[in-house]
Amino acid sequence: MYKKVFLLALFFFIGFSIFGQTAISGTVVDEAGSPLLGATVLLQNSVIGAVTGADGSFKISRAPIGDHLLECTSLGYTTKVVPVTVQEGNEVRLSIRLLRSAEELDEMVVVGTSKAEQLKEQGFSVAVLETATVKNTNLDINQLLKTVSGVNIRESGGLGSGFDLSLNGLSGNQIRYFIDGVPMERFGSSLTLNNFPPNLVERIEVFKGVVPTTLGADALGGAINITTAYRGKSFLDVSYAYGSFNTHIASVNGQYADKGKGHFFKVSSFYNHSDNDYLMRDVPVFDLELGNNLGTIDIDRFHDDYSSAMVTLEAGVFDKKWADGASIMLTGALNRKNYQHPDNNILRVFGGFRTEGESYLGRINYSKTFHKLHIKAYALLGKVRESVIDTSAFKYNWAGDFIKRDDDDPKGELLERRSFLKLDDIVANSQLTMGYRFNDYGSLGLTLNQNRLKRTGDDIVDPLNRVFEAPNTINKNVVGLSYTYKNIVKGIEITPFLKGYRFKGSITSEGIDGTLTTSAPRFEDVGYGAAIAYARSPKLSFKTSYELAYRIPEAFEILGDGIYITPNPGLGPEQSDNFNFGIRYDTKNNNFGLDAETNLFYRNSKNFIRFNPLGPFGEFENLNNVRSVGAEAALLLRYRRLLRLSTNLTYQEITDQTAFDEGLPNINFKSKVPNIPYLFGNAQLGIVPFKPNEKNELSLFWNLRFVQEFFLIWENLGDPNQKNVIPKQFIQDFRVQYTMKEGKYNLALAVNNVFDQLAFDNFSIQRPGRSFNIKLSYFIH
């Protein structure tokens, strides 16, 4: 430390000799806004810098004119790099907030901030999962996300199973997912959230209901952004985990960066496999010939294995005159998933049904700051194939017995006719984000996003399956414009924004007589919103945000299925008024830390898309209105580095606001929408019972997940004694982790669902019981 200060002093001295200079000054604070003493602030690739005083302030008196990257470091905090533009006679003032780094934390931290976009200072309702401290544990991304208040994830099985994430009551395709700001729409099943081991992820940002314009997509209920970047550093992160159900999860994530030459090469990869052969209890066995019920048995799943793999290669340059960063990325990903049963029905048992996915993506990235203008752009082209393979002529039951069908029986396991359907998507997606900073107070952001999908379907087994036989295309454009006013002294930040959505499709459908008709649905909508943050004191802050958000219909909702689901070119977007209000109180001294936060949310959603049948046909229409009102509270208590307790609880009341159903009064008008968890929460306790020295550490974690029982069907309807329920979940996990050499070597053990509770996220669909897992990881940088 003293050495560092001495060196800095020396650099300082040298710095005096440079011509054309202006001062950079500001403060460095921690997550809670408390000043940080002794943090170093250094212009990257130079010897010019300063050290903060007791009030967190610093001043670099003579910074050369031009664009710089300012690197701010402090022991125990993650280094932060901030672009600055120094102009003659114009003193630059900055407020830099540092996040606690891996070494300082016992457990993942949920903090209301995003390093990249400095969202902490903004009014968005955002939760950020810093994975630095948990990447070496045996948690997957879904498990991490479940610890965010307001988030609930319902899984239909083990590794690779279907899941439905809900965020403040909205779910499914109403939530959009991003990797490094790139929308993951139509990237295929190998690149969904649950495939990524946490080792590949630096940070997960969860935007609740109100989404900043930099994430260019039609997110009705919020967005989740995964960040993977480790800019400008060389590192290697290798991990391997093995667990129950023959589960293997491996990842290699490494980068070579040459700071001198300004180029880098990066590899990210994962491999996942699980047999998912967990015990199913009391499943009904039906005889194969006639379908009669023979009783129930307990049996291991036997056709549910899942494998996925991905490799991403990235090569590029950084800190060049013409670009702060520019790179080319290539991604290839594959997966194969066997299904034991459909995601919603255990009465039908599969022995052959499977899906396969392959995704190939190419992307170029560019970013550059020209004085006050910051530009970031990417362009992506992808080819995604998803196959649904229902070609087995065998018929299975839960006992594992099977028979072969008669030769003239065309039935598949799920479908009426055996089928091998390939859906080929070409995705083309690009985005340009520009930020212009007028002065210390105001900045303007503009995002232009274009997303095009071309889909073709081909069934190589069933010639009568005409799903997407004629190619269909859909074009989405999202334009976002935002202005940020920020007054550090007054603790106020206001970001009003506008979003424009444009949708254009070309839909070809085959009529009864085999004729092809093409229609070109199009619509335009304008959404808007604002996020306001007010820090009354470093300890107490308020946030509120609002957005009128849209979700543009999915391809299949507009296009239909080529036969029974008729196209509806007139289908409009779903829309929602999303409102958040949050209060946070954060205090700490040397020993104790307390961070309490509560948020209220309100979602008034209209024109939900629902299937409307007509005879054997039907179409998707805008039919339902739903309101979601709720509150979430989170409390974090910390004693030194020895003990950390974090809890959160979410209560939401989601009601049907559709007054009429096909002209008749909706009997469920204003009733609680069933089959959605309404009360759920988490508790995590982390303790460090053994710490032989500064570099080695043993940690113990206990985690509890609670989901209150909820009804499958409207609460007030039906005989209360005979109602179908999804029972209460009270699942506890236990983990032990030993870290050596400041995280270079890690050994982690986990027991999930310690008490082997029968758990259901969805009605009658069992989730795995108790499981064990061991993980080894190596990290060097």
């Binding site: 019920n293 919603n344 029986d409 799920l414 689901i565 898309i609 179908n724």
Partner: protein, 428 residues
């Protein structure tokens, strides 16, 4: 909130295909339609049918909103008050067909809800589930033997050439005793398959009227200007009909969504109805009039001397549904205006159906008085209770039970339906 796909009549396979796609695309999960009853305990012991203690009437109520959940409810009277599922009834996990056989009510699921349960009244008169079985493709056509001990239920694959699998289900045990696969009729050269519209047992024969449809699954009626009936031996139903009879005086028998394309009278005569209208799903529409054909008791051919041209008759029009009510009379729905677009008779945009009593023997039609014009998409077989017939009548703004006095052809408004419709009334 997640997207909901309510299963509705006729939408089995397509959604499965879509589901299969969405399964892996992960864009929409349909666990709302999780098709299983929590009570999955099998009952291997055949239970004797207890005599119903309750004199009430059981009905299948479809609610409004969301996914239109259905409930099996018992009420002592349907003549006044409100029929509601508020706090009562056995909830169903999705769209159901309801078909009574004696004292057993079968509720059969749809699409991936591939389960059929049997319900009856216990000693206390409460409705209880007495068994269940699963099937492959949806069971979409139903009938019963004359002794009311066996449910006949048929899987009807929608696309391509495949067996229509006829299930014989013991009404006491709710166990399938055998399955016979038959094509009924098919012509691979011209791509034609059969869509049955009734399973009518008469003595030692089973009569299966059918539509001829394009095998590609478009529901295109390729021979709309004739009536067709396949005749099988019963109970030893073969894989091929013993013969197929046709009649060019009217169109294909029956309509999609009704199980009563052909009915049997007390005397053993059989009558069938033909519609032929575009708005009832005929594509193309028939050039033949909507009418009623007859097969005399003991015979296996159409009675050439009998044809009741409903369109030419007083109070007539195109028949959309009928069912037998005793005394050689049928209760029926007639489209007072059949000019609507394809399948629109199944929707809730046009309310042009009237209720009539047809004297099958004397060939007269009498409008049922006091019943408004309405819409109807699906009906279970009707319940005739002491000369009264209960029907659910849905207009643009209301759904009510009407009690029809068959003899006088008058209707009286009964209980108000708190929901979309009552799909069937049963006495268990």
């Amino acid at each position: 909130m997640k997207m909901k796909i309510p299963f509705s009549f006729g939408l089995a396979r397509p959604l499965s295909v879509l589901m299969a796609c969405t399964l892996l695309l992960g864009s929409c999960s349909n666990d709302d339609n999780a098709p299983m009853n929590p009570v999955s305990q099998p009952d291997p012991q055949p239970q004797p049918d207890p005599d119903p203690v309750s004199s009430g009437i059981t009905f299948a109520l479809k609610t409004t909103g969301g996914d239109e959940t259905e409930f099996i409810i018992n009420e002592p009277s349907l003549e006044t008050g409100m029929l509601s599922a508020d706090g009562k009834g056995i909830e169903q996990t999705g769209w159901r067909f309801y078909y009574p056989v004696g004292k057993t009510l079968f509720a059969s699921g749809y699409s991936d809800d591939n389960q059929c349960a049997g319900y009856t009244a216990d000693e206390k008169g409460e409705i209880v589930k007495k068994g269940e079985f699963i099937f492959e493709n949806s069971l979409e056509m139903f009938g019963a033997d004359e002794a009311a001990e066996t449910l006949l239920a048929m899987e009807i694959p929608r696309v391509g050439f495949a067996n229509r699998r006829l299930h014989f289900v013991d009404a006491n045990t709710v166990n399938v005793s055998k399955i016979v696969g038959t094509r009924i009729f098919e012509d691979q050269k011209d791509s034609i398959v059969a869509w049955p519209t009734a399973l009518q047992v008469n003595g030692d024969k089973l009569f299966v009227p059918f539509h001829k449809l394009d095998a590609k699954g478009f529901f295109a009626t390729v021979s709309p200007d004739s009536a067709f009936v396949a005749v099988y031996d019963y109970p030893n139903v073969g894989t091929e009909p013993i013969k197929i009879i046709s009649d060019a005086r009217t169109s294909n028998i029956g309509v999609n969504g009704a199980t009563t394309g052909m009915v049997k009278t007390d005397g053993g005569d059989m009558y069938s109805f033909s519609c032929g209208a575009t708005m009832a799903g005929f594509a193309p529409a028939s050039t033949k009039p909507s009418g009623i054909l007859k097969i005399k008791a003991g015979e296996t051919d159409f009675d050439t001397d009998y044809f009741f041209d409903i369109e030419a008759a007083t109070n007539g029009g195109k028949l959309f549904w009928f069912d037998y009510v005793g005394g050689n009379k049928a209760i029926a729905r007639i489209l007072t205006d059949d000019s609507g677009p394809a399948w629109s008779a199944y929707g809730r945009d046009v309310f042009t159906q009237k209720l009539v009593i047809i004297d099958l023997e004397n060939q007269t039609i009498t409008d049922v008085a006091n019943v408004p014009l309405h819409a109807k998409r699906y009906s279970s077989p009707i319940l005739v209770d002491e000369g009264k017939v209960y029907v659910s009548i849905e207009t643009a703004t209301a759904a009510d039970v009407f009690v029809v006095d068959v003899e006088n052809a008058t209707g009286a408004k009964g209980a108000e339906i708190v929901g979309k419709t009552v799909k069937g009334f049963f006495k268990l």
